[in-house]
Symmetry: D2
Subunit: 438 residues, 4 copies
């Protein structure tokens, strides 16, 4: 992305096309690699309405390039299959009919093989189109970049959805058999808080490079003085909350949260199993012991909020988080950040980065719940056409999460990035960092 921005100003258009094509192939191959160890059966199943089959993710991301680029920019392009145009539309009402979301798992045809052929077909056509496009077509390139970020979002969902599906199997099978070798690194606990003076600051997308529409326009906000914790809340800390009867004290909970945890019987984070002091968790490497210093994850907004109240703090507002992140190195410039490319596929204990002060673990590990409802920035206007359905229409009854997780691509996350989920969702890698007034 940063590379792309440079390209836009410095390189010849031939170079730019080559670089874009490289990135396209890299992202597309990553998706395929994520599914490489999965069987056709694994890629078929939808384990809950919130999740989608891996096969569907592989097809839908392809549909996006076919629909918004090939069909729009290449008059000679022949769609791979007419029925796929309906089957793999997700929520774009403007593009026409769509297949009902909870029924995605029923589509045994096309097979995984057919979907992989669909990917090959579209990849070739994109390559062909890029090679034929004479000069710089900003519209095409913007949509291509959007499509790549869209695919990176689905890569994250592939992993969270597979995790959920495998967890439903009493055999508790692992997605991968072995985690990367641990480097002998010094664990520095990053204790303490970083203080911010507040005042009028500017947030939102205002630099070169890609951003989703919901990150614009950049605008001024007014912050009160605040502090952010230097690391994420750990499993050890969360266990202390549980052992202090955190799930049984109504005064710690939002009213709706209290109803949810009792209706669902939640007494621990999702994927945890155990009692007393003896807990383990299902991970993408199977069932593992809890690392007390690793960040807690798979908690709902309600649990994050209750924990913060119990701990005497609060969740950060999204502007507070963003302002702090803007003062730190970016994800791309944070090699120690635990992101998809790290291969751990699970949050890890905080580690001090030499020469860096301020809050750590801002990028990767877990998405951090903020106390901010997901709302349009002042002056926000959705893009015209189907692409405009991307973000705006979800701005209601969801809360913003920031910073990416251990299954987010490094090139996909940034300080202005706004993720969002409803308050009772837990299958994402979601956790929290404490904030407090000065």
């Amino acid at each position: 992305m940063d590379t792309l921005s440079l390209a836009a100003t410095a390189a010849s258009s031939t170079d730019r096309r080559a670089m874009l094509l490289n990135r396209f192939m890299a992202v597309r191959n990553t998706s395929r690699a994520l599914a490489a160890d999965l069987s056709p059966e694994d890629c078929q199943v939808q384990s809950m309405p919130d999740a989608s089959p891996v096969k569907w993710h592989l097809a839908h991301t392809t549909w996006f390039f076919e629909t918004f680029i090939l069909c729009a920019f290449d008059p000679t392009y022949r769609p791979f299959s007419e029925p796929f145009r309906v089957l793999f539309n997700s929520y774009y009402n403007a593009v026409g009919e769509k297949h009902p979301r909870p029924h995605r798992g029923l589509l045994t045809r096309p097979s995984l093989d057919d979907v992989l052929k669909y990917r090959t077909h579209v990849d070739a056509a994109i390559g062909d189109l890029l090679s034929r496009t004479p000069g710089q077509d900003a519209g095409l390139q913007d949509l291509l970049e959007l499509g790549l970020h869209h695919e990176q979002q689905h890569q994250e969902l592939i992993l969270t959805d597979v995790k959920h599906m495998l967890s439903c199997n009493p055999l508790k099978p692992a997605y991968r058999s072995q985690a990367p070798t641990e480097d002998t690194r010094m664990i520095g606990m990053l204790p303490g808080w970083t203080s911010y003076e507040g005042g009028i600051v500017r947030i939102g997308h205002d630099v070169q490079g890609f951003a989703f529409d919901n990150e614009s326009p950049s605008h001024d906000i007014l912050l009160q003085p605040y502090q952010l914790a230097n690391r994420l809340v750990t499993q050890e800390e969360y266990l202390a909350f549980m052992q202090d009867d955190g799930y049984r004290r109504p005064e710690l909970w939002l009213s709706e949260g209290w109803d949810v945890i009792n209706r669902e019987g939640w007494r621990a984070p999702m994927y945890w199993d155990g009692a007393g002091d003896d807990w383990h968790a299902f991970t993408l490497f199977g069932i593992e012991d809890l690392d007390p210093l690793a960040p807690v994850t798979h908690i709902s907004y309600f649990e994050a909020d209750a924990f913060a109240r119990w701990a005497g703090g609060r969740l950060p507002r999204e502007g507070e988080w963003e302002w702090a992140a803007r003062c730190q190195p970016s994800a791309v410039a944070s090699p120690q950040a635990n992101l998809l490319e790290s291969g751990f596929l699970h949050p890890r204990p905080a580690v001090a980065q030499t020469g860096v002060t301020g809050p750590g673990q801002m990028f990767g590990d877990v998405w951090e719940w903020t106390s901010s409802s997901y709302e349009p920035y002042p002056g926000f206007a959705a893009a015209t056409g189907a692409v405009g359905e991307y973000n705006g229409k979800f701005m209601c009854n969801q809360y913003v999460l920031r910073g990416g997780s251990c299954v987010t691509s490094r090139s996909h996350v940034r300080a202005t990035y706004r993720n969002f989920f409803p308050t009772a969702v837990r299958w994402q890698f979601s956790g929290l960092r404490l904030a407090r007034a000065v």
Copy 2:
């Protein structure tokens, strides 16, 4: 309330007690008057889980005074009935067991008569306690004031809940047989917009007089320049939206809103019945023709938001609304405002008030949906004890409404007042006013 504030500084404590007792009796009698024309059967029924029986409202407001004042401040007080202490607790987990909300309508015993005796008993005990309290007990007086505002909230609910219950009856019976005589008043349409420069402004409770905890602390916010419409959106305008296929165009709707209106089959505001150009509505006076110039009401957040998008505007943020309201006369100083005491019990067309510029209908007629999620103000801390459950624990997945409605007491509403409801709720008198960027 203003009266009270003056009292606090100027009058002798005897006077103050007398004035407080007067207000107590006035509010309590209003509740009884609202139920005066209702039969025991009318007061018994709970027509949906969101609503409560009138009998329950009458008892629960009494329970509040008994629990938080008599039992707390009067060691000689004997509760009217032990079982009532559980039956008429609403949501105060800290006070102990409570009767499940959706079963309130099953309590045929105690009878309405018994509940009226309960009221008489508690009213007498409060009178007695006030007469015996030697000096000024600020804690008691604060709780009494809170109890009165609590009761005024339930007065509003008595009317909205009865309206819903009567609407379920195929006979469509009226709550009252005749609306007040209409004064021949000049209808001034208050066209146009009022502009605000924005910048840093202060909102929240910062003057003397009662306010709920959620209106504090007062704090600075940063506003972009904006405009507010000078009147509420009318039924005529809303009908134009309907006739322009507003309910059938997904691009106008939030994603969740689109799902809701299709699942519920909504094609018009609640209580409307008709087709094409011929619509009428169920009111507290029975079925009536639509007044085209009266404000539209009984619409959900989703409908308000979709209408605003269709009309090329947006909903105001709550800070924008409050800033504008602070620049206008208060509810108490707006005799033309259509509030409970006006007796119309239904929104009415806007009328120009001589010598007043800026937006009209700020108080009364309908609660105005804002685009602001209901969140704590920076530095908000819930009160300690059960009273602290009043507001804070609902600050999630709800949206703020401002300004009061035609069934809100004049002494109950103010510029800083924050009402809140979930996005799909329609049985309240809810409507909207447009905002837009300058």
Copy 3:
């Protein structure tokens, strides 16, 4: 009924009309008497979809006479209220629109007073019609008799529905304050079994007097030799089943029953509360200790079936029960039978009747579950017109119960009477008697 039959052959038509009118007034007054101690609130509430408000029962039974007799036979009759004709229709699709069953509790208007006036109006009109009808109109008299038995069915429902409604109230109020004085009677436990040879026997309605259409045609059936227990299963015996882990042993249960008791959490009969050896039950006289020798009641088909399997017996088939009942005195000839007129409103221990052998408690106390699915007798044809909707259309997925209960009128039950309910219903006074092969 028997009286009526005699009348049909022996008395002058004037006498017959007078006798019919007497019976009409007696049945109608009984309904009113059952509601006499209930408040308007008590008569208003519908505590579950299966139940109806007392007010609705009072109105619907009146609607039956107005619709099928007055409107059909009296050209001068003016309906009391046009809207009542829809509001109080129950399930007769052929008669036109009807008010949805689960919303019966929402009708606060008409008031109980209005419904009582409706009853008075219709009673007077019936009296007037009978006095004017010159001779014998068999059609009218048959419908009148049907209407009276219909009303007796609803009298039973008034009591079971009120019982359910009061049980939902945490105050556990009593319907009546005092049970009739107990006669000092010898409790004879009627131990043992009565044997029947089987063979071809005739069942179904084949004598003079009223019967519902589902009791016809009488026909031959083939019975294997069998035995019936001489009394109903007692609470003591049922408690032994519970204490022998009856509710936790899947091998005792029908598959669907096992699902139901676990989904609902049933571990005892409905209205029982307690643990171990200490149980009490909610009755129409409030909470009472269990009488170990009284028949168990408020159990579902599934519980009756599981108990029988545990006890080494089985439920009787309806033909077996009827054949045994035909060999015993009728309900009218069984003064010791515990029926509505006895006033106990709860099952009582079996008592030997001097000079009577064979099974006791055949009539009254509790409806006895049989193992027979509710099906039409061979050659059954529903009556034409709306009255034909009475029984036939329910002949599916329900099971037959026999013998009447402690809230059934003595003149309403007979050996051929077929009651029927779905398998998971418990709010009726339902129990069981064991059968077994010889």
Copy 4:
């Protein structure tokens, strides 16, 4: 089966074992052949709670042989996989824990390949066991025979479940690409009725050969004189019912049926699509035109019952059907019967069989709804142990179907066979034959 019976009396035990092994291999291979054209994805999916994945059917039938034969009779047997013993238990509570039915489709591991290996393992072990068993072990052989009939039941379910799953796919893919070549056969419509005198007749299993426990004991029943139609109800006739507003006339329907068809929006048999005179249906060969003379299928009990009422007839009782079937050639002796081996996988028009009088189509084409609730025969006792859970615990709220369908194995069905389903089920090949009184 018949072969086996002969074997039991005439052949040496070595021959008998060989014959049993032959049958074992033939049935086991049929299951595999039914799945041969399906992909791993096709075998994975569970399209509704009533259905199961093909992979599960393949594994569960294998589990039956492993659990009840190998683990019970072969002390040297080592289970293929411990977890499979829980995963592929279906409903046998006595055998221990089981995997919840609606989650069967979530088990992507074990893979289809693993399940096929499981089959190979168990098949070899059974072959080995049989070769080692010295003499005649009746218990083992009975259980083996039970296991084979159990597997044949699941073969039928494989086809009905796959059909449902494929029908959910908007592509409407075919299970097989081509139906068998049609023989040019004379269509004889078998018009008219066959009359039966009634009286005492004997039904139930009373000959040599296999039968399920629910077919015993044989016993006498008493039949009134009756007539049975000589063929099944056709699609042409059912279409006439539809066009005569059959689905819109409440007087034709059972009360519960009327609720079901309106709640579900049923206006035609399952898998039909069309309007007016133009209908087609989804079959295992994809979407096909309706053959007017072929039997109607995929109808619920409610629809069968309503059609019969409309047509002036009724459904047969199961005893009536069985008595008629006992007077006709058996399935094995009816080469023209359209059963699984015929390969049509869909019902076909009736054809006269030379020299045979009386009702045709008694075996194959469609399961025929009877009006008989599924109940134990007098004296029925479930087998002891887990196998006893096979049938008895489902004897409630289901109705009996007779005669087998186009996907039933010829060696699996017989005159005494009792199939059963709830009244609202349509995904089986279910249809009807009319009966009437003489």
